[in-house]
Assembly symmetry: C2
Homo-oligomer: 132 residues x 2
DNA sequence: GCATTGTACATAACAGTGTTATGTATAGCA
DNA sequence: TGCTATACATAACACTGTTATGTACAATGC
C-alpha cells in the first residue's frame, strides 16, 4: 500500500528548510538519509527528490545554518554529513514561528468554513476564531 | 501595537492559494478587500502586497478556480469581484489536505525535538519553546 | 563475468511565483 | 490644491523545485 501524496512545489519549498533543520536538530545526517527520514516522518506521504534536496543543503551551508564534513561509512561509501549550527537552530525556531502563524490563520478560516454551511450566501456568518 | 511578522516568500507562496480560495469560499470579494481580510484573519500578523495578490487572482481565474466580474460600488469605485467555482472548491479541499499532511509531519518532528534533549549536543541546550 | 538496483552526491535548463517598483485612476478630506 | 486611501495592473529580478543528466561504487542475481 503506497499512497504518496503529491505535494505541490510551493508547499515543498515552504517546508523544506524547517524540515531539514529539524531533522538535523535530531542528529547529524546526510543527503540520502534525510530523503528517507522525510518519507518516514511523513508516514510515506512525502517523497522528496535528490535534485531538490542537495541545493537546499548547499544553501543552508552557505547561510551558515549547517556545517558539512566528509565521512566514510563502514560500507566504504563516502557521505557528506551535515550538522546544524546555533544559527541554524535560531533559524529553525523562526521558521517554526512563521509556519505556526500561517497555520493558525488557515485553520481559522477552514474552521469558519466548515461551521457555516453555504446556504445561498452566509457571508461570514460564523464568528471567526481568533488565533492570537 | 503593531507586530507584523515577516513571513518568508516561500511560505507566502504556499499559503496564498488556499488562503484566497478559503476567503472567497466565505463570500465573493475583490482584491483590496482580500488584502484586508488576510490581515484581519491573521490577527495582524500577515500583510500581503497587492503586487503579489493580483497575479494570484489572475492565475486562479485562468485555472478556472474563480470567476471574475466588474462591479461598481456605491462609492462609485469600480471593483473586480471574484467568485469561487466548484473546481475552486475542489482545489481548496486538495490544498487543505496537502497543507495538513505537511503540517502533521512538521509538528511530529518538532514534538520529538522538544521531548528529546540530545546529551552531548551542547548547542541544543535550550529547549524549544512549545507553541502548540 | 555482467547487468541491475540501491546508495550517494552534484549540476544545468526550465518554469513558476513573490518582491519591488512603477503606472493609472478616483474618492474623501483638509 | 495636496495628501491619503482605495483599486487594479504590469515589468524586471531573484529564488527555488522539477526534470534530466552525470559520476561513482556496493550488493545482488543470473
Amino acid at each position: 500500500m503506497r499512497e504518496i501524496m503529491e505535494i505541490n512545489k510551493d508547499l515543498i519549498a515552504a517546508s523544506s528548510t524547517p524540515m531539514v533543520l529539524a531533522i538535523l536538530a535530531e542528529e547529524d545526517s546526510y543527503g540520502y538519509a534525510i530523503l528517507q527520514r522525510v518519507r518516514e516522518l511523513s508516514g510515506g506521504r512525502m517523497e522528496w527528490t535528490d535534485g531538490m534536496l542537495y541545493p537546499v543543503l548547499h544553501r543552508l551551508e552557505r547561510l551558515g545554518h549547517v556545517e558539512a564534513r566528509w565521512e566514510v561509512a563502514e560500507s566504504g561509501r563516502r557521505r557528506r554529513y551535515y550538522r546544524i549550527t546555533s544559527r541554524g537552530r535560531a533559524q529553525l525556531a523562526e521558521e517554526r514561528r512563521q509556519w505556526q502563524a500561517v497555520d493558525a490563520t488557515l485553520r481559522g478560516i477552514w474552521r469558519a468554513l466548515s461551521l457555516s454551511v453555504p446556504a445561498g450566501h452566509p457571508a461570514s456568518a460564523a464568528p471567526l476564531p481568533q488565533g492570537a
